[in-house]
């Protein structure tokens, strides 16, 4: 294949990526959009394989075979509840690939020829440094995020005094090494790997102090980084397709990051570098929880029987309890008895953007029933029973009422304005923000203590028997 023909194939692939990504924005066209992206990738890789310089066929096919097999097995075996960690892992692999490709470029013949003829351009070297830096932060940051989401034992939330200073120091040193790489191309490899090593450390430190409920932001941000790393690699290799595809992903990740930050009313800076500001509320747990009323599955079933519209607000607890199928059974039963059921999904419910939606879709719940926060809030006064399942901070009315609370100003789902609220929860323990939730003691709220899946199944059974 001539270089022109290959470039044309890249152009075709870039166009298909754009069309595919556009398809992903609507449920109706999403499957086709994803296939379009896969086709684009196939065209791009196939065209590259036909490049005249490609001689190492055997090694290539073996590597692709290993990668494709491992990727497919992971993708088919993974539980839907574990989707956040899988996306984190794939992100990390993408970042790692960028580090390796830029490293291979520095080790390659083209580069040594350029150094010998002293025609190495600062722009290419800068791109190489960027590729290694962003790629390495993505790699280690994603792996730490993966370990946290998977709840691996050896990983703990670490934060220590001077952490910000250390992060700043690492960032400056890594950029300094990147500058050395640009100014001393003859030692490029040395500086490159030192810089990437520091960047790996930086990625670990950046993510290790970030708590579970902030994970949606981190995953979205790392997603963006993996795209930007690919783009930087495109600048290294003088390849437009990498630049375009990487930029598209970088942009989409940035938008998701912004949506997640807005949904928590926290700046990206506060998520990455600050912990939640503590204190604020002067009320202790005992004071807030003086009038908590608990209920039973039978009582809930009776309430459901006389209601016309039910709202279910799921949170990370639903994923932990694997309660989505039990929820589906209850939903179908209620619908059969002409009780309207809707789901109120908070943007940051769960551990990644859209986490709850995927779980409910897995349980075969019609996506038309999944409503966004603003939509359910506007119809909250018509809800007879709101069931909060494993969610806490995203339904805490303190966000509206207490300007000193750490979650002040965060948009919440106003379940406290429904006629009755049932909170399914193991105990009165606080959520991620570490504050008491006055909702649990509200006059119209009842606590149903227990495991989410078991509690919902019991309600279903009681409702069915009645």
């Amino acid at each position: 294949m001539t270089p022109d023909l290959i470039d044309l194939s890249y152009l075709l692939a870039a166009a298909l990526f754009i069309i595919g990504l556009k398809g992903l924005t609507k449920p109706r066209t999403a499957v086709r959009g994803n296939l379009m992206g896969a086709l684009a990738m196939f065209i791009a890789v196939a065209a590259t394989m036909l490049h005249q310089d490609i001689i190492g066929w055997k090694g290539l096919l073996i590597a692709i075979g290993i990668g494709a097999f491992a990727g497919t097995v992971l993708a088919l075996k993974i539980e839907m509840t574990a989707m956040p960690q899988l996306v984190a892992l794939f992100n990390g692999l993408g970042g790692g690939a960028s580090v390796l490709v830029a490293g291979a470029f520095l080790a390659g013949k083209e580069f040594s020829a350029r150094v010998a003829s002293e025609s190495c351009f600062a722009d290419v070297l800068t791109a190489t440094a960027a590729s290694g830096l962003i790629g390495a932060v993505t790699l280690s940051g994603s792996l730490v995020a993966f370990a946290k989401l998977q709840e691996l034992k050896f990983i703990k939330d670490v934060s220590f005094p001077g952490q910000k200073l250390l992060n700043l120091g690492l960032t400056v040193s890594a950029i300094g090494l990147g500058w050395l790489l640009v100014s001393q191309p003859e030692h490029a490899q040395l500086w490159y790997w030192l810089m990437s090593g520091l960047a790996v450390g930086l990625g670990i430190l950046l993510v290790i102090s970030i708590g579970g409920a902030d994970m949606p932001v981190v995953i979205a941000l790392l997603n963006s980084y993996s795209g930007l790393a690919a783009s930087a690699t495109g600048f290294v290799l003088n390849n437009n397709l990498l630049i375009i595809a990487g930029a598209l992903v970088g942009a989409s990740g940035l938008i998701l990051t912004r949506i997640m930050c807005d949904a928590m009313n926290r700046s990206l800076w506060a998520v990455l570098f600050g912990t939640m500001q503590s204190g604020g509320s002067s009320l202790s747990d005992e004071e807030v929880y003086t009038s908590v009323k608990s209920t039973s599955a039978d009582e809930v079933a009776m309430m459901l029987e006389v209601s016309q519209s039910v709202l279910i607000v799921p949170g990370y607890g639903m994923a932990v309890a694997q309660a989505q199928h039990a929820v589906r059974d209850l939903t179908n039963l209620l619908l059969n008895r002409d009780v309207d059921v809707q789901f109120g999904i908070h943007p940051v419910a769960g551990r990644m953007p859209g986490h709850m939606n995927v779980l409910l879709a897995e349980a075969d719940i019609d996506y038309d029933r999944l409503k966004e926060m603003d939509e359910v809030n506007s119809m909250m006064d018509q809800i007879d029973v709101a069931i909060v399942l494993g969610a806490n901070d995203v339904v805490n009315p303190l966000a509206r009422t207490d300007p000193n609370s750490p979650i002040a100003g965060m948009p919440i789902i106003d379940v406290d304005k429904a006629r009755t609220v049932i909170v399914v929860k193991r105990s009165l323990s606080p959520g991620f923000a570490g504050i008491a939730n006055p909702l649990f003691a509200a006059d119209n709220a009842l606590m149903l203590f227990g495991d989410g899946k078991k509690a919902i199944s019991e309600i279903t059974k009681a409702f069915d028997d009645a």
């Binding site: 924005t25 310089d53 992971l74 790692g96 960028s98 291979a104 930029a247």
Partner: protein
Amino acid sequence: MLSSTLAVQDAVAKTVAAAAENVPQSGGAAHLILLLTVFVLAIFLGVEIITKIPPTLHTPLMSGSNAISGITLVGAVLATGADNGTWASILGFAAVVFATMNVVGGFVVTNRMLAMFRTKK
């Protein structure tokens, strides 16, 4: 409103495509600026496309776009396949494995997720 956004998308897409075709093979500042042009326009295009996505599809969008970011695979193939010496080939080999996992796994898992989103009639 919708038609104007579509028009913007269309215009940006055309400019990106045009810029992509015009990139010369040699280096230099002009060349870098062309690459940067493509990059910046693609960022704007990405923002235009993604802004309207419904929250229901956020997870598949992430895993799908994640698979697309595995486009580094093209670079990895070039690094491995060309006659570049042992060290570069080893790095490239590992890069191809990583990137292929990212690409294939990403598209497969996205397809698996999207197949679950449906409306009951």
